[in-house]
């Protein structure tokens, strides 16, 4: 299994529009990220929830997918991007995953609300490569914490009792 620092970041993209999904997927792949693209907040939560199931069981660690960042459209039928943001931030297991919101509408109150309620960035559509370049610091922050945490992480991965933390570079509380 690849050492954490060298492995590609995995981004979960959420957008109900086929073209925009294709576009964001291409932008992310061009930036060397691994991508899973889904068409709704519900499917996004299923994908993330599936990770938890794998994690909680003593299943082979190599099966699970670690989502490093979620990028979601704001305007979607059913669960909006904001709804998804709130569900993620209110989940003990998912709340530390950085979330970025995209929207075709430039509405300051909407943007502020998203940023205040946990979104790391808000991109206006159409999303550009220059926007995707802004994601790296958020991803690096989650991965490159002080060495002491890395050492602990390596120990945790090796531990046989299946209690590794969700983000292996966090301090266990």
């Amino acid at each position: 299994m690849a050492m954490a620092a060298d492995a590609k970041f995995h981004v979960l993209a959420v957008d109900d529009t086929l073209i925009d999904r294709k576009l964001i997927e291409k932008l992310l792949k061009t930036s060397s990220y691994q991508v899973t693209a889904v068409d709704s907040g519900t499917r996004a939560l299923e994908f993330l929830g599936l990770n938890n199931k794998n994690r909680n069981s003593n299943a082979d660690a190599s099966v699970h997918v670690e989502v490093s960042l979620i990028i979601t459209d704001y305007c979607m039928p059913g669960m909006t991007g904001y709804d998804l943001l709130r569900k993620i931030k209110c989940s003990s297991s998912l709340k530390d995953i950085p979330v970025v919101i995209m929207s075709s509408d430039n509405i300051p109150s909407r943007i502020n609300r998203c940023l205040e309620d946990g979104a790391e960035e808000f991109f206006l559509k159409p999303v550009q490569l220059s926007d995707v370049n802004k994601l790296r610091p958020h991803l690096m922050k989650s991965r490159c914490k002080p060495n002491i945490n890395k050492r602990k992480a390596v120990e945790e991965i090796a531990s046989p009792d299946g209690t590794r933390s969700r983000r292996y570079n966090e301090l266990e509380v």
Partner: protein, 151 residues
């Protein structure tokens, strides 16, 4: 000889795209898409164009349906225009996007007559765009055919 033909076709492609920029039919977003096309995904632009056209036609058909009712459901109409505006923006279809903005405004004002006018404008812009895209894709295919012949 093939090399010259390929070069000529590539120039034709480039000039035609430039004319679309000059006319405001396309904007810089289309260049972004072209820049994203690479050897790992050599048909990217074609694929996006195809997805866009299928989507646009579906939406235009729906909007036409809503506008044919005695009592127009402006809210449903608006959500469709919003979708088309978004897709237009994503592919760089500048004039079509502007036509969508007009329809959104008319829909917001609940003015059926203006909605119909704005919708006709959308349909016109879309048809224009589609025929130009088809022309581009034809050139592209000829280039690919010639390049394959060379191998």
């Amino acid at each position: 000889m093939n090399q010259m033909a390929i070069a000529a076709l590539k120039n034709q492609y480039k000039s035609f795209v430039q004319s679309m920029f000059d006319e405001g039919v396309l904007d810089n977003q289309f260049s972004q898409l072209q820049d994203l096309q690479d050897s790992s995904n050599p048909n990217f632009v074609d694929e996006v164009i195809t997805l866009f056209c299928n989507d646009a036609e579906r939406i235009i058909t729906e909007m036409n349906r809503y506008l044919n009712y005695q009592n127009v459901d402006f809210s449903k109409l608006d959500s469709h225009v919003h979708q088309l505006k978004g897709s237009s923006s994503s592919i760089g279809a500048h004039r079509l996007k502007l036509a969508c903005v007009n329809l959104r405004q008319a829909s917001y004002e609940r003015n059926k007559e203006e909605c119909v006018e704005a919708f006709n404008s959308i349909r016109h812009e879309y048809c224009l765009l589609r025929s130009k895209f088809q022309f581009l894709m034809q050139i592209e295919r000829r280039i690919v055919a010639l390049e394959n012949n060379q191998q």
